[in-house]
């Protein structure tokens, strides 16, 4: 706490192994605290927080008023009891919440870590770790704080980390220590270097500092840092120096502050309470003026019978007191029980969510959990869903699904509706097979067994061309360590089909081919990068032949094939299209035989390029380009990034419910887009716009261009084929986007078909658009004036995908939409990188998956499958919203009907603030007589059953449009309430003023009048709730009838002689109920009042239902008709979403001409170099011992050489920091005509690194023209065949 008063740090100085030195800076310790209270502060802080609520303060104020005797028109217990109840319930709930936060904090703070203290490793709790300590981490341990990596058990001070908790990227990352410290190994007790670095910040990918040690300076980058939240993998141990601890760590800096979430209904309710307060003041003023007039004209003369009370000496003062008295009486328009009831209803809904069997995942034995119980009805109003990708939409499991080998496709399951075929059993054929691998097409296995040459070559490629590491703990028990799951899947596939990758050294790859051990000499790895989109290896087989194996994105690979492959290429392209249409990640495979001369000459140029110091990257890729030519196509693979169960269906249903889904992922653009396709967010008819500019100007231009195009496209689709159609495509092919934009707009205005305001245009836009934006562009798009531009563009799109975004950006995007669209947002994610997004969205949903529990802990709702979202929103959310709205409508109605009677009575009692009812009735009315029926309705009501609301997602729309409870509805409710109060007062007034009992005693006494009115009120509101309740369960019956009974029985008990004898002055209504309710005329009065109140409502509702039925009414009615006709529930009726359902069904639909190459670009460059350098070879591994004998010389040579060069170019070891723009000019492949046709509109990935705006325009421009032409030809596949 006190730390906040410290001036902000300007730089951080940390000295290793020197606690005294570091302590003088008062850096934060590693203790984290997310809880809000402790035992002492709980009561005051919590009460303070609670009284920040308008309502609570208001009731406190009322309570104080009631303590003044001259004003008190009601005894104060009418307020004290409910207020105390509300405060204590809330306090208990807050205390529970905070208790759990304390528990989780404690858990984290008490984790053990090994700290080097005075040369000895000591076990220490996380919270006791200080800045400047040296920590030892072991494999699979969480990093305790932000550490500077000093040394590692692996060679070269390398270590591997998984950052999923931090940024959601699931591939392993390499970190390397500064060479001087890595040489120290574990002798770090004497290390006394000093680090000077930037102050704590939230930038995950940046670190800037300097290490001063032994009079020398060493620069530090992010490459040397291990951040809290990461997990150490594949590294036995490493040592790190704590730089940032606890709240200063990047993880904590990135998690936004805990915000108290409120629903929009809550906010509306608070506004309405303020309005009602205003209304109350108005009523009070009117009555006070009335009182002033009355006291002057009548009251002053009436003083002989009723003198003014002592402090009062004139009518004005009397009126002033009367004002406050009326405020007290009329305060029941907002009874405190409103807040209690709302909480109770929400709690009930939360329990229903927890209890829902259909949101229970039997595989992980987790039920859905409503962790926040106050947001339920907001679930029925969601308009935007922000979803994480990995672990949320996907399972993060890649499976080798299909392949095409020399024109033959394998893996197609012929009958998608038939029974699941048996997975192939590889064990008899191949003892080294991975048991978890599943493949269903035995034709492929047959082909391998038969010894088909192409098939063998295909799998040989897969077993050779990769950067996977293997670990063979015991013979045959292979474990692959792939840095992207895709590669792992491919190598595993090859392994199962008999081409087992066993181990590698920097110069060799050993495999077992069809049971026969083979060792290839690895000549070169032509590494992957984002521009090349392919990787190759050049190997020499035991026979001495040199071959280049290449795998890569089809778009880049197919154009580097030998011309003789034309025919095969066409077939394979068709296959690739099919795979892509199924949302699979495709990869094309090819090889090239190299002669010894070719190899020699190439390797010469490679060496020279490798040695270059300037533009090394560019030179290298140019060299690679030379050799990767004239290749022979082998086939293609298709990997399924396994979606979670039911994701496409859920997304389809949600988008039918008019919910916009944005995917925010830390993953690469290609991966994200691919997932977009496979979960049907993007389809082949979708027009995808990609924003990937690196400067503000280019982003702005790209956004504008996209928008212009959308307008044009929607214009053409709306207005059919317009005559200007041939014209508009042209300007896009040349010139820059801004000019075209203006031109385009000019055209429009000439046509006069669209309003001039562009925001207006964007709102009305229709069409299938999608926006893909990169993290770096997003950073610009979120800046000041760009915001609106971005929102305008993005919101016109059906789907938005943001890739490479940081956790904070995720939150910023959510905030942006919250700010600009005033829509309810929901964020769903499973990793720690989603926490900030989950916290800033209106509703945060955590997927309790494999990636830890941070997201769940921060979330409001949690469950284990993405598909449960559809039930959570469409069923529970919808119901909650409906129930809450009905509850509120009724509640306000009821209280106005109840309270406004006093207002009318004021005109007849000299504005003296006399209540119409008995005090006990006033106290009990909201708590007892009318609370249960409305609670039962608020908890149990259903308009349509859950099945129907999933069947008709449109039923969700009223919630988004806020139709069921808004200011208009509120006014209708209170108008109805006031009408009822008028009836309830004036009917008894008219009847009773002259009436007498049948024994001649007049009925117009105050107590009879009170009882008649109160009974009429209870009956009228009961009838009203009966009309409002749409779903009469046993509980509703019990509540409604029980409340009526309780009214009568409590009344009779309170007015019984026995009780009166004990409390004569409190219960002065004795015997009144009996003598009143035995009079037929009283019952006639009540019946009359009820009829007058209910008949108009009934007529109005009937008319509304009959003439303008809502969808829910229709569904309900249809159900009734069906039940009556005793028809079996028509499952094939309606179900509009079914068409967009499962993958298998959609396969029957038209296939677009798009192709998405998914060379797993979760891939990272730089691994090839690591492999050839041998840096990441484990000295201890089995592989080394078995191969060292044969290849020791070359291995050690390479090692020595690399070690030497490494010192000069440390940055090249990592792909992350490679300066992108420098390689643009040279390496962007020319976009040939054939490519654009093949690549289709989804070829955008190409520009990811290209960056500059003109390039963007020229690249994206051909897409629409192609789109339209192919659309006219109906069959894109054949169109392609034509061109080629």
């Amino acid at each position: 706490m006190f730390r906040k008063r410290l001036p902000p740090e300007e730089e951080r100085r940390v000295k290793a192994n020197d606690r005294e030195y570091n302590e003088k800076f008062e850096y934060a310790s590693n203790y984290i605290m997310t809880s809000k209270y402790n035992i002492i502060t709980f009561l005051p802080v919590n009460l303070f927080e609670q009284f920040q609520e308008v309502a609570n303060t208001y009731f406190l104020f009322l309570l104080i008023l009631q303590l003044i005797p001259q004003i008190s028109s009601l005894s104060c217990y009418t307020t004290i009891v409910p207020l105390a109840l509300v405060l204590s319930i809330t306090a208990v709930k807050d205390a529970m919440d905070d208790y759990f936060r304390h528990k989780s904090d404690n858990h984290v703070n008490n984790r053990q870590s090994q700290v080097l203290i005075r040369g000895l490793l000591q076990s220490e709790k996380w919270m006791n770790v200080r800045v400047g300590d040296i920590i030892k981490l072991e494999n699979n341990q969480f990093v305790a704080a932000d550490l500077l990596l000093l040394s590692s058990s692996e060679p070269h001070g390398l270590c591997y980390i998984e950052t999923a908790e931090l940024d959601g990227e699931t591939n392993m990352k390499v970190r390397q220590s500064v060479s001087v410290t890595s040489e120290l190994g574990d002798n770090l007790s004497s290390f006394d270097g000093e680090v000077v670095c930037e102050p704590p910040n939230n930038k995950l990918d940046r670190f800037c500092g300097t290490l001063y040690w032994r009079e020398k300076k060493y620069p530090l980058t992010n490459q040397n840092m291990l951040l809290r939240g990461c997990v150490l993998r594949n590294t036995e141990a490493c040592y790190g120096l704590v730089i940032f601890a606890g709240p200063d760590t990047k993880l904590m800096q990135n998690s936004g502050c805990t915000k108290f979430k409120r629903t929009s209904i809550d906010r509306l309710m608070n506004t309405l309470v303020l309005w009602i307060f205003g209304f109350l003041v108005c009523m009070g003023t009117i009555l006070a003026v009335g009182n002033a007039v009355w006291e002057r004209e009548v009251g002053s003369l009436f003083q002989s019978y009723l003198p003014w009370e002592p402090p009062v000496n004139n009518f004005l003062f009397n009126a002033f007191l009367s004002f406050w008295s009326y405020i007290i009486i009329l305060n029941t328009v907002v009874p405190i029980s409103l807040y209690v009831s709302v909480e109770v209803i929400r709690l009930g809904h939360s329990y229903f969510i927890n209890w829902d069997q259909q949101m229970f995942c039997s595989q992980c034995n987790t039920a859905a959990e409503a962790r926040t119980t106050t947001l339920n009805e907001e679930l029925g109003q969601v308009e935007y869903i922000f979803s994480d990708k990995t672990g949320t939409l996907t399972q993060n499991i890649m499976s080798f699904n299909k392949c095409s080998i020399s024109g033959q496709t394998y893996g197609e399951i012929t009958d998608p509706l038939g029974p699941q075929p048996k997975s192939l059993d590889f064990t008899p054929f191949n003892p080294l097979a991975d048991l978890d691998f599943c493949f269903y097409d035995d034709a492929l296995l047959e082909s391998v067994k038969v010894g088909d040459k192409h098939t063998h070559e295909f799998f040989r490629l897969l077993s050779l061309c990769h950067t996977v590491m293997s670990e063979e703990k015991s013979e045959g028990e292979l474990v692959y360590k792939a840095q992207s799951p895709d590669e792992g899947a491919l190598v595993t596939a090859a392994r199962n089909f008999g081409f087992v990758f066993r181990s590698r050294t920097p110069g060799t790859i050993s495999t077992t081919e069809m049971g026969r051990p083979v060792t290839y000499t690895l000549l070169a790895i032509l590494d992957f990068n984002n521009i090349r989109k392919r990787m190759s290896v050049i190997v020499r087989n035991p026979e001495g032949r040199i071959r280049l194996y290449c795998k890569g994105a089809d778009t880049v690979l197919l154009e580097r094939l030998h011309p003789c492959n034309q025919e095969l290429m066409n077939i394979t392209s068709d296959h690739l299209n099919e795979y892509a249409a199924d949302g699979l990640r495709t990869l094309a495979l090819a090889y090239r035989d190299l002669s010894e001369d070719q190899w020699e000459s190439w390797s010469e140029s490679h060496r020279s390029a490798d040695k270059a110091t300037d533009f090394r990257e560019d030179l290298l890729s140019a060299v690679y380009e030379q050799i990767e030519q004239d290749m022979m196509l082998l086939g293609a693979t298709a990997i399924e990034d396994k979606l979670q169960e039911g994701v496409p269906e859920t997304i389809a249903v949600l988008s039918l419910a008019n919910i916009k889904i944005w995917v925010l992922t830390g993953d690469k653009q290609e991966t994200a887009v691919n997932i977009g396709y496979s979960c049907k967010m993007l389809t082949d008819t979708t027009e995808v716009f990609i924003i990937s500019g690196h400067t503000v100007q280019s982003v702005r231009q790209e956004l504008r261009t996209a928008r212009e195009k959308m307008i044009q496209l929607s214009q053409t689709t709306d207005g059919g084929k317009e005559p200007g159609m041939e014209g508009w495509g042209e300007p896009y092919l040349s010139g820059n986007g801004l000019n075209e934009g203006q031109e385009g707009r000019g055209e429009k205005q000439m046509e006069g078909s669209l309003p001039p305001s562009s925001s207006c245009v964007m709102d009305n836009i229709s069409g299938e658009f999608a926006l893909v934006i990169n993290g770096h562009s997003l950073a610009h798009a979120l800046e000041g004036d760009m915001e609106t531009e971005f929102v305008l563009t993005a919101c016109a799109c059906k789907a938005v995908i943001c890739c490479r975004v940081t956790p904070l950006q995720k939150a910023q995007v959510v905030e942006l939409i919250k700010k600009h669209k005033k829509a309810v947002t929901l964020a769903v994610g499973d990793g720690a990188n989603d926490v900030s997004m989950i916290k800033s969205a209106h509703i945060g949903v955590g997927i309790s998956g494999q990636e830890g529990i941070q997201a769940v802990l921060a979330s409001d709702f949690s469950f284990s499958q993405f598909r449960f979202l559809q039930r959570l929103l469409l069923v529970h959310g919808r119901w909650s919203y409906l129930r809450m709205c009905r509850f509120l409508c009724y509640f306000f109605y009821k209280n106005f009907a109840f309270t406004m009677v006093h207002f009318w009575f004021g005109f007849f009692c000299g504005f003296s603030a006399q209540t119409v009812y008995d005090q006990h009735f006033i106290t009990l009315f909201n708590i007892v007589y009318t609370s249960l029926p409305v609670l039962a309705m608020g908890i149990f009501d259903q308009d349509v059953p859950d099945r129907r609301s999933l069947e008709y997602p449109k039923l969700y729309e009223p919630g988004q449009l806020n139709l069921l409870f808004n200011k208009k509805e509120f006014f209708i409710c209170i108008t109805q309430g006031i009408y009822t109060s008028v009836v309830l007062f004036f009917v008894p007034y008219a009847v009773l003023s002259d009436a007498t009992q049948s024994n001649g005693v007049p009925l117009a006494d105050y107590q009879t009048f009170a009882i008649t009115t109160a009974t009429a009120l209870v009956i009228v509101v009961s009838v009203q709730i009966a009309l409002d309740t749409g779903f009469w369960t046993v509980i509703n019956h019990v509540c409604v009838w029980g409340s009526l009974c309780s009214y009568f029985s409590i009344m009779f008990v309170l007015q019984s002689q026995g009780l009166f004898r004990s409390f004569p002055s409190q219960l002065n209504f004795v015997g009144c109920a009996r003598s009143t309710l035995l009079q037929p005329i009283v019952w006639f009065t009540i019946a009359l009042a009820t009829a007058i109140c209910v008949v108009p409502v009934l007529a109005f509702r009937f008319l509304k239902l009959d003439l303008k039925p809502q969808l829910s009414d229709t569904v309900r009615y249809t159900q009734l008709v069906r039940q009556k006709k005793r028809k079996p529930a028509g499952r094939n009726v309606g179900g509009p979403w079914r068409g967009a359902g499962s993958v298998s069904e959609s396969r029957l639909g038209a296939r677009g001409g798009s192709r998405r190459s998914g060379y797993a670009f979760a891939h990272q460059e730089g691994f090839g170099e690591l492999i050839t350098s041998g840096k990441n070879m484990r000295l201890s591994s089995l592989a080394l011992t078995s191969f060292a004998s044969r290849h020791s010389s070359s291995w050690i040579d390479t090692l020595r050489r690399k070690k030497h060069t490494h010192g000069h170019t440390p940055a090249s070891a990592s792909g992350e920091c490679s300066p992108a723009p420098s390689c643009v000019s040279g390496s962007v492949p020319p976009l040939s005509n054939s490519c654009s046709v093949l690549g289709g509109s989804q070829d955008m990935p190409l520009e990811e690194e290209a960056g500059t705006a003109p390039a963007q325009n020229t690249l994206s421009a051909p897409a629409p023209s192609k789109e339209t032409t192919s659309a006219s030809e109906q069959e894109p596949d054949s169109a392609e065949a034509h061109t080629e």
């Binding site: 002989s304 069997q357 997975s423 493949f439 009692c909 006399q914 369960t1033 009829a1091 009934l1098 008319l1103």
Partner: protein, 370 residues
């Protein structure tokens, strides 16, 4: 991280040997109970406002209300009621001088008599009321200005009345019994009724003063402290209300059952009215025999002992004679209201029926526009 083609469905397979499944089988399943309540599948009646239910409801309301309205209207019309204002506002009215001169401070009582004529005989029991207008018995300060404990005979409340009674709590240092503004302003006019027969002789009509208060008030709510005997002793330490001429134990010295707090006139007054214009039962004129009318038509004289000033606040005093039916006194409003509401319902039913037939858009088939 391991890349493998892992199939989650495998886990459910019977032959699966994964240890995870074995563990899950041992650990308790967190699967929620499959009860109708928890799964929100309770059997429920789901009423819909269809034409088949709403329209008949309107007709039924109409059919019930119209006959009831007619019955109430006829009954009300058969009731005879006579009302006379005796405040004495106009100079020519008999009580003008009394009304003008009288104040609470007067020591002598003023009497006046009002002549009136009943056009029709009153057959059954006749109830005699006094009515006050512009008298705010329902004013908050007035309503609360009483001590129910004291009226219940509580001795401590007798010596120490509730604060609510201020400023009529004590007088000359003695606690007032009964305290408070209501008791203080007790209506104390005396009304006597004489029949003037054709030859001009006055015949006093016997007025029954018992049975005019609620049973519970008389027997439960109001009690004399220390029983009904020796009221003088019981109220010894108390002062009479400021406006009263006599003490509470002198209200009806003839009948100990009608004296003190349980005096019925007092009880009737203490039952405050809901509205500023009200009537209270004063006396009952019992029917003597089945042959003669209780009050035959003819001339009557109302003798008033004018003690109660109302002119100062523009109040009015009335005397009302009325007969009673099963539904109480004359009440034309209720019958008319029932007739109106019944007809409106019927009319609404017809209109809605027409609208329903003409504009009904709903298809009875199971089609839903989506």
């Amino acid at each position: 991280m391991m890349a493998s083609s892992y199939n989650a469905k495998e886990e459910d397979g019977p032959h699966s040997g994964t240890p995870g499944l074995g563990g899950a089988a041992v650990t308790k399943s967190k699967k929620p109970d499959n009860t109708a309540f928890k799964q929100q599948r309770l059997v429920a009646w789901q009423p819909i406002l269809t034409a088949g239910t709403v329209l008949p409801a309107f007709f039924v309301i109409g059919i019930f209300f119209i006959p009831i309205g007619i019955a109430l209207f006829v009954t009300s019309n058969n009731i005879k009621e006579f009302e006379i204002d005796y405040t004495g506002v106009d100079a020519d009215s008999p009580c003008y001088s009394c009304a003008k001169d009288f104040s609470w401070n007067s020591t002598t009582s003023c009497t006046c008599s009002v002549d009136f004529k009943l056009e029709q005989p009153f057959e059954s029991n006749v109830f005699m009321y006094y009515g006050l207008s512009n008298f705010y018995q329902n004013h908050r300060r007035y309503v609360k200005s009483r001590d129910d404990s004291q009226l219940y005979g509580d001795l401590s409340a007798l010596t120490n009345p509730s604060k609510e009674c201020e400023p009529y709590r004590t007088s000359n240092g003695l606690p007032i019994a009964p305290c408070g503004a209501i008791a203080n302003s007790l209506f104390n006019d005396t009304l006597e009724l004489y029949y003037v027969d054709s030859n001009g002789t006055r015949k006093e009509i016997p007025l029954v003063k018992k049975g005019i208060a609620w049973w519970t008030d008389k027997h439960v709510k109001f009690r004399n402290p220390g029983g009904n005997d020796n009221l003088t002793v019981s109220f010894e330490g108390n002062s009479k209300p400021v406006n009263w001429r006599k003490a509470v134990y002198e209200l009806d010295p003839t009948d100990s059952e009608n004296n003190g707090f349980i005096n019925e006139d007092f009880i009737v007054w203490m039952r405050t009215a809901a509205l500023p214009t009200f009537r209270k039962l004063y006396r009952i004129i019992q029917k003597k025999s089945s042959n003669t009318a209780t009050l035959p038509s003819g001339n009557y004289v109302l003798e008033i002992t004018y003690n109660y000033p109302v002119l100062s606040f523009d109040g009015r005093k009335r005397m009302i004679l009325s007969t009673i039916s099963w539904m109480g006194g004359k009440n034309p409003f209720l019958g008319i209201a029932y007739l109106t509401v019944g007809s409106i319902c019927f009319f609404l039913g017809v209109v809605l029926l027409i609208i329903h037939h003409k504009y009904d858009t709903r298809n009875t088939s199971a089609d839903i526009p989506s």
